[in-house]
């Protein structure tokens, strides 16, 4: 493991968390850094919605194939098992004989992934989601990688709950719903921008993210203003003061 990249990553995440930050942007940063640090092919943060569903909060790419792999895990897969057991779940060779999760393994293999890891996002006795890592080759991730991976999953958990007093169990539930709704706003914005400029969803997302960063605004706020705005021009016209 690149120890300089490791320290840089944790400094960056810590710096982000002491300031005001957008939770979806934060989770994207975390999945990007997970891929770099752990030499994964792809990564995603999946949250457990109490409606009875695992939902993607952030992923290292917008490839439909990857996002579908998270969706499939509502039926079977490492994230579902991780969520149910509260323990890390590993598959070192999805292309091997008698895979644990046949439909998931087949879809993962088609997407070019051969190993997978799901690390629990835990807060005390509650599992709120998982950090899902994919590798291109068999063999998975080594013990050192998994320790760092679990630490990243823990940072994701803390990041989700940064603002509020987390002694209240209710706070966790409230914050998760806020994060899940932010994701929906961002998807709506991606669609509007992709249609306006005739670009794909990945590019639309990148534009929204870059604009938010460069104009020092929260990604969710940019997305909401864009979706609510009367025009689909982007970058949007000069920002009005928020109405309260």
């Amino acid at each position: 493991m690149d120890t300089e990249l490791l320290s840089d990553t944790f400094v960056e995440l810590a710096d982000t968390m002491v300031a005001e930050f957008d939770v979806i942007e934060f989770l994207h940063l975390l999945t990007d850094r997970s891929v770099a640090l752990l030499a994964a092919s792809a990564a995603g943060v999946v949250l457990a919605d109490p409606r009875g569903e695992l939902r993607v909060a952030a992923a290292s790419s917008e490839e439909a194939e990857l996002l579908e792999l998270f969706q499939l895990q509502n039926d079977q897969g490492p994230c579902l098992e991780c969520f149910r057991t509260g323990r890390a779940v590993t598959a070192t060779d999805l292309a091997g004989p008698a895979p644990q999760w046949p439909r998931f393994a087949e879809a993962a293999a088609r997407a070019g992934f051969r190993s997978v890891e799901a690390l629990p996002m835990r807060l005390r006795d509650q599992v709120i989601g998982a950090l899902n890592l994919f590798g291109a080759g068999p063999g998975g991730f080594d013990a050192a990688d998994l320790r760092i991976g679990q630490a990243l999953a823990d940072v994701a958990t803390i990041g989700l709950l940064h603002e509020r007093n987390v002694r209240r169990r209710e706070t966790v539930a409230e914050q998760l719903q806020g994060a899940l709704n932010s994701r929906v706003v961002i998807e709506q914005a991606k669609g509007k921008l992709a249609e306006r400029l005739s670009i794909d969803m990945g590019r639309a997302f990148k534009m929204l993210r870059d604009y938010a960063r460069n104009s020092n605004q929260h990604l969710t706020d940019v997305a909401r203003d864009f979706v609510d705005g009367a025009t689909a021009d982007f970058p949007p016209p000069a920002r009005r003061q928020p109405h309260r």
């Binding site: 109490p50 209710e170 409230e174 914050q175 932010s182 669609g191 249609e195």
Partner: protein, 248 residues
């Protein structure tokens, strides 16, 4: 995690409506929410812009007073949930946290007999339809299992409010529960993306775009997620006239 829980909850709402010989409405959602979570009362307030605006339905007089009080004061959990797009679970209105957050509302609410108050935004991303408010006369947290059911009920109320607002008159509120309950049982990003795309394709605000998407799926007897997938993949475009649609 296959969406079966959502189907079971929506079946309760449909059953409650059927028992009254009516089409399902937000009144049924409120009634089911109260009985399944063992609460004292519930109400739905419609939004205008990003603020709660007027009371759509209540299950009892105390709920009506709690709903109206928040509108009058411009303060309270119902306002907060629309601003934050997250639920508020105030299990004990007598605690310091509630007094701090809602200094005018809290003492008045306690006077009315509310010990705990729970509010859910009725939203789909940037679309704000209203608020579902619930109270219990005794303080105490919401049991974990009930929270998921209330989220599902809030989704049902959202879809009903959006449907009736955007002229689902032919389909009726029943469109929410006939073909479409299964479609909203498992959330799909394509539905949100297609909604955004439709704001441009149809030249309408996002709430109307969502209503048109659902209406189209219903009229074609297709799953919402499948229609959304076709729109995102650009195999399908919806025209500005309700009856017009076509390929790319």
């Amino acid at each position: 995690m296959t969406g079966s829980r959502a189907l079971a909850v929506w079946a309760q709402v449909a059953a409650h409506a059927a028992a009254q010989g009516q089409r399902p409405s937000v009144a049924d959602v409120c009634a089911v929410a109260v009985s399944s979570a063992q609460l004292s009362g519930a109400w739905v307030v419609a939004a205008r812009g990003s603020d709660p605006d007027f009371v759509m339905c209540v299950t009892d007089p105390v709920s009506e007073q709690l709903a109206e009080l928040q509108l009058t004061l411009g303060e309270g959990p119902c306002r907060d949930v629309l601003a934050s797009a997250a639920p508020v679970l105030a299990g004990d209105l007598g605690d310091a946290e509630s007094a701090r957050r809602w200094p005018a509302f809290t003492p008045a609410a306690c006077q009315l007999g509310a010990g705990a108050l729970f509010a859910f935004p009725l939203i789909v991303g940037a679309i704000r339809a209203g608020v579902l408010g619930l109270y219990r006369s005794s303080p105490g947290p919401l049991p974990g299992r009930r929270f998921g059911d209330l989220l599902i009920l809030a989704d049902a109320a959202t879809v009903m409010l959006l449907g009736s607002e955007h002229g689902d008159a032919e389909n009726g509120d029943g469109a929410a529960l006939d073909g479409q309950a299964p479609d909203l049982a498992l959330h799909r990003a394509e539905i949100d993306q297609a909604t955004g795309m439709l704001t441009v394709q149809l030249g309408v605000p996002v709430a109307a775009a969502f209503a048109r998407l659902r209406a189209y799926a219903y009229s074609q007897d297709r799953r919402l997620a499948d229609v959304a997938g076709d729109i995102v993949a650009r195999r399908l475009r919806l025209g500005r006239d309700p009856g017009q649609h076509g390929g790319p």
